[in-house]
Symmetry: C2
């Protein structure tokens, strides 16, 4: 119980947080956020997505953000990439890691990527063959804990997709609960089966808080041996099938939980909260994050005035 294994938080607000926002956050504001994340010392920052600007207009400035931001030594700057064309653009922009993505659910892959699973992997093979110097390859399995069209995804199928990514030379694997369908028991079971294939230093869990289970799933995954987690400042993001529901798990809520549980993250919680409190001005609405509203557990309140003595 009293482990002090660190938990590594990877910031995905700029990509998964902003991609669903109806407003276009100005490129300069994205760059300012990226630089703030770098200054905070995140190990990995997912900067943007090299997809069709028609499909995701919010991230049409991916190359400009990569070009304009500062780079901290030791931080990996990630670009989400669905296909060969996106990979070429990401490499040209100087991404430090290509995050390949396809969905365990065939219907979701067809809907999101306009490709079958096999076609996605044909494209990934071409990407893996590109000269890329020391740029890393991560393979993401979206809808790994359930597909909003098909429902549950068999564990054997998910693990087979993991193996296909590893066979391509991916040095990192992400299991993503894209629409917030995972539960703690399922998470513990899948992490236990994935770790022998992937290793804790290479496995990322990506949870959404769509149904309120995001942090419960983190605890289950961490207790099963996982250590790397995606999260978005303010809990930005969302789900096209759940208007009003939460998006990604919230970076500062996750870091606050870790602090209370005695799990080191290396991140500065007050600085994260301050940064998160600036998000509503950028996106035009309140965010789902709770700690930015409630304050840290350690932020005690003065006793009400006029209390009688005990």
């Amino acid at each position: 119980m009293n482990t002090v294994r660190p938990l590594i938080v990877q910031e995905v607000c700029l990509r998964d947080g902003l991609q669903i926002e109806p407003v276009f956050v100005a490129t300069a504001d994205k760059i300012r956020l990226a630089d703030a994340f770098s200054a905070l010392g995140f190990a990995r920052i997912e900067v943007s997505s090299f997809v069709s600007p028609k499909a995701v207009p919010a991230l049409a400035d991916a190359a400009e953000v990569f070009a304009g931001m500062q780079r901290a030594p030791g931080t990996v700057y990630v670009a989400l990439v669905p296909n060969l064309k996106g990979a070429e653009r990401a490499l040209a922009a100087g991404a430090g890691e290509l995050n390949l993505v396809m969905s365990a659910g065939q219907t979701h892959n067809l809907a999101n990527m306009r490709m079958t699973t096999d076609e996605s992997f044909e494209g990934f093979a071409r990407i893996a063959a590109l000269p890329r110097g020391n740029v890393l390859l991560n393979g993401s399995v979206a809808t790994a804990f359930g597909c909003p069209f098909e429902g549950a995804q068999p564990v054997a199928k998910v693990l087979d997709l993991v193996r296909r990514y590893l066979d391509l030379g991916c040095t990192g694997i992400t299991l993503a609960d894209t629409t917030g369908m995972a539960n703690p028991r399922q998470v513990a079971a899948l992490v236990e089966q994935a770790l022998p294939l992937v290793g804790a230093d290479a496995l990322t869990l990506h949870f959404h808080n769509t149904r309120g289970l995001g942090l419960a799933n983190v605890v289950a995954a961490y207790d099963a041996g996982a250590q790397r987690f995606d999260a978005a400042l303010g809990g930005l993001g969302g789900c096209p099938f759940a208007p009003g529901a939460s998006g990604n798990i919230c970076t500062e809520d996750l870091v606050a939980m870790c602090e209370e549980m005695g799990i080191p993250t290396g991140l500065d919680l007050p600085a994260l909260i301050a940064l998160s409190r600036g998000l509503p001005a950028l996106v035009g609405h309140e965010t789902a994050g709770q700690v930015a509203k409630a304050g840290r557990v350690a932020d005690l309140h003065p006793a009400p005035p006029g209390l009688r003595a005990a």
Copy 2:
């Protein structure tokens, strides 16, 4: 891992959910909600609070709600009671259980109850001496996981308060995280220490989702052996120190989580969701509950039109 121990959900929306609402929900609507909870088969329903109507105007109609609602056999109808006068009113109204409440944090007790801890227990001793037939007594320790004024509360102090309640003849004990300061590690540790004193059939955990950890705390408590949990439809409630933050853990989100984890609750999730979707009309704002917005995990979506074949 594959336990099928049931998890007992106790509905507190009418009391802890409504008490902080600025609007007065009409007595007839409260009665309708109470009857709906009875029809759903909750084991315990906290109906109202017999406190000063000046302090909590939202619950000034406590006696009228008790008088107007139907009573299902086997359901315990609970009244929150801070002092002797409240207990007398609750007994006159026909409450099936008096839920005594005081705070582990002395400052919180002085602020909320205008009494010291010892004065609270002097009043409880008088309540315990009242003739009450087969009306049950539950003892609640508020701020058991942290006081917003004082911070952490020593486990020994919390357990001592539990013993004082038991010595008075309480047959149930509630450990309440009144302002959402608990974390899963702390919860597991306190439950493990409380269970030998109280027993799982008599111990209730009462969590707030103020900082997003409500359901993670439920999992930790359940896995440590607890089985009874308070929750409020829609996640109503809130915290005076955290404007905009969530309130009680949400009944339908908790039941949805249990269903996905294979833990029986005996409650009808679609009916709960339908009931919860009527709350915004009563309280005049969106509620914090997630599943009422996102739907159940099992509520799959049709594939988008025009998808090519795989």
